[in-house]
């Protein structure tokens, strides 16, 4: 049996049936990592010793006949933006190259207490700023389907790790598309939760009003199971309202007869890849076969979302990055002549180009005399984008769109042109501004590269998009396609 290829639910069942041990599952993942990760480079830091300790603890409980947490003994990869006690956490930034946090992010604490096996920390665009993982301060990650292409980003390492069976599931973050786009590029499932559904405590802030935490999985049923444990209010994150957490694994079993799915005309634009367009339309047909009703809708302010995002995001970035001053943690260059030199030299050496660009755009947008023209205007446009969705959801239950205008592009192709990179997020950003949830699932191959579809749900209605995604996967086998690793 090729243990690394199992899904989370298969691993869950097999542990209980004593078909294999957690130690064997962990070993299978590390063997896969040793075989392929020198080419894919999904991981920044491995946690081998602790992982085996965690696995052996789970195996001992099984041997004694004790009951297990559903996530217990199952190996997971974690994006290196989540703080992990005694495990280096860099955010893929040189400024935190040697940072070892003394505390766990709330979701990491949940996983540790569940007895999960933490394999290691995965690569990302520095502080989650980017869409290709090329902005990592350490190295770019390759797409497991074609090593010359990007895995998407910013959670590219977490997506590539699951796509290459170097972990059963993983954690990522999504601010403007950072889970949905890499899930699409790597041919796996990924969920961006509604803003506030999962605690952000202990996850380094990029755009505080938009940042969300979510899982990548090999299928939607796995994601539904994980979400039951990740979701919910946290006293350490004041933006998590006490909204009831659904029993996602049960909810997804219902069929989708009569479900109303909106197809927004603004998401089928001039210049998008013909294969991608066809993939989404084929998926719509499949949903109709499953009993859903597909309805044409309009989200008229879609075209403004990217512009609003690239004011709001850098503005919040410029504020969030101010904490890196070389005083309390991280890189500190102290050979200059005064305090100002410490700031300037530490930040110069510690931050990469994209981080500096966003800090400068944000500083400019928030500087005296420009606030109304940029930040306030962008927040008003954010209202218009949000209202578009509110109107649409009076008519439909979920919205179906492409994830990205084209499949994964080549490493280096867009790195010199930040604006071209930003426009890759055109289909994922609007839902982020509205705080909605979005699920990205594989829906076919175009030129031998995976292409995903995006299902957008109302705030806190994760259960409906997960249900539609799961029913789609029961009726199709796109999610079973795996890259041929070399």
């Amino acid at each position: 049996m090729e243990l690394h290829k199992l899904t989370l639910l298969e691993a869950f069942q097999g542990l209980r049936d004593k078909k294999f041990t957690s130690h064997q599952l962990t070993e299978a993942c590390f063997e896969q990592i040793k075989k392929y990760d020198d080419k894919i480079k999904a991981y920044l830091t491995l946690n081998e010793a602790e992982a085996y300790t965690q696995a052996d603890a789970a195996d001992q409980k099984i041997a004694k006949g004790e009951s297990l947490h559903p996530l217990e003994g199952i190996p997971v990869a974690i994006k290196d933006i989540f703080c992990t006690t005694n495990l280096r956490t860099t955010s893929a930034s040189k400024i935190l190259e040697n940072y070892v946090p003394p505390f766990d992010a709330t979701v990491v604490k949940i996983l540790r207490e569940a007895g999960a096996v933490i394999l290691g920390k995965t690569n990302l665009d520095e502080f989650a700023m980017g869409g290709s993982t090329e902005n990592s301060g350490f190295w770019p990650t390759s797409n497991p389907w074609d090593y010359s292409r990007v895995p998407g980003g910013s959670s590219g390492g977490s997506a590539a790790a699951v796509a290459a069976d170097m972990g059963f599931y993983s954690l990522g973050t999504d601010t403007g598309g950072s889970i949905r786009e890499p899930a699409s590029f790597c041919g796996i499932s990924g969920l961006k939760v509604s803003y506030g559904r999962v605690s952000r405590y202990g996850v380094m802030a990029m755009t505080s009003s938009l940042d969300t935490i979510g899982p990548f999985g090999k299928n939607v049923a796995d994601i539904a199971m994980i979400m039951e444990y990740l979701a919910g209010p946290d006293s350490k994150d004041a933006t998590t309202p006490p909204v009831v957490v659904d029993n996602y694994s049960e909810e997804i079993k219902q069929d989708i007869k009569g479900l109303k799915i909106g197809l927004p005309k603004e998401y089928f634009v001039e210049g998008m890849d013909e294969g991608v367009r066809q993939t989404v339309l084929n998926a719509a047909k499949k949903f109709e076969e499953l009993g859903a009703e597909v309805i044409d809708i309009s989200l008229p302010h879609t075209d403004l979302a990217v512009a609003a995002y690239y004011v709001i995001c850098p503005s919040e970035v410029s504020s969030n990055m101010a904490r890196f001053d070389g005083m309390r943690y991280g890189l500190s260059k102290r050979d200059g002549k005064d305090l100002l030199d410490i700031y300037l030299d530490s930040r110069r050496e510690g931050f990469g180009a994209e981080v500096k660009r966003r800090i400068m755009i944000g500083t400019y947008a928030l500087s005296a005399g420009y606030y109304d023209a940029y930040y306030k205007k962008a927040m008003q446009v954010r209202t218009l984008v949000r209202q578009d969705f509110e109107e649409a959801y009076k008519q439909v239950d979920i919205i179906l769109t492409p994830v990205a205008p084209a499949p994964a592009y080549k490493l280096g192709e867009k790195i010199g042109d930040p604006l071209a990179m930003y426009l890759e997020d055109v289909f994922t950003i609007p839902a982020s501004l509205a705080g909605l949830c979005g699920l990205s699932i594989p829906a076919g191959l175009v030129s031998e590269l995976p292409v995903g579809i995006q299902l957008l749900g109302k705030r806190f209605d994760e259960k409906t998009i997960l249900r539609a995604g799961h029913q789609f996967q029961l009726a199709t086998d796109y999610h079973l396609a795996k890259p041929e690793l070399k």
Binding site: Y195, A307, Y329, R334, R347, Y364, A378, M379, V381, L419
Partner: protein
């Protein structure tokens, strides 16, 4: 909005970033491109539109004002590049005249 190299230098100074003159030139082009793109917001009529700063609908989330020990004060201070006796060491800010 076209940014001059002087403006980029000024923004970098405000943002506590040190940039070389070559970088200033590169950033002037890239930042101008981004700002030109976001200019499209200016054409939108937002006269009576409330800004959305967050979407939770929550306001003034509070808790009882009681002390909860983190239990990791020493470890947190130990993260600082320089620390002594449980304090973070920073360079002096004021000079004796």
């Amino acid at each position: 909005m076209k940014l001059s190299q002087e403006e980029v230098e000024h923004i970098a100074k405000l943002a506590r970033l040190r940039v070389t003159s070559e970088e200033t030139e590169k950033y002037a082009g890239q930042l101008s491109g981004i700002l030109e793109y976001v200019e499209k917001l200016a054409a939108v009529d937002t006269a009576n539109i409330e800004p959305t700063s967050q979407v939770t609908g929550l306001t003034n989330v509070t808790r009882e004002d009681e002390i909860i020990e983190s239990g990791i004060s020493e470890e947190l201070v130990a993260c600082a590049p320089q620390h002594q006796d449980g304090y973070v060491v920073i360079p002096k800010i004021f000079e004796n005249k």
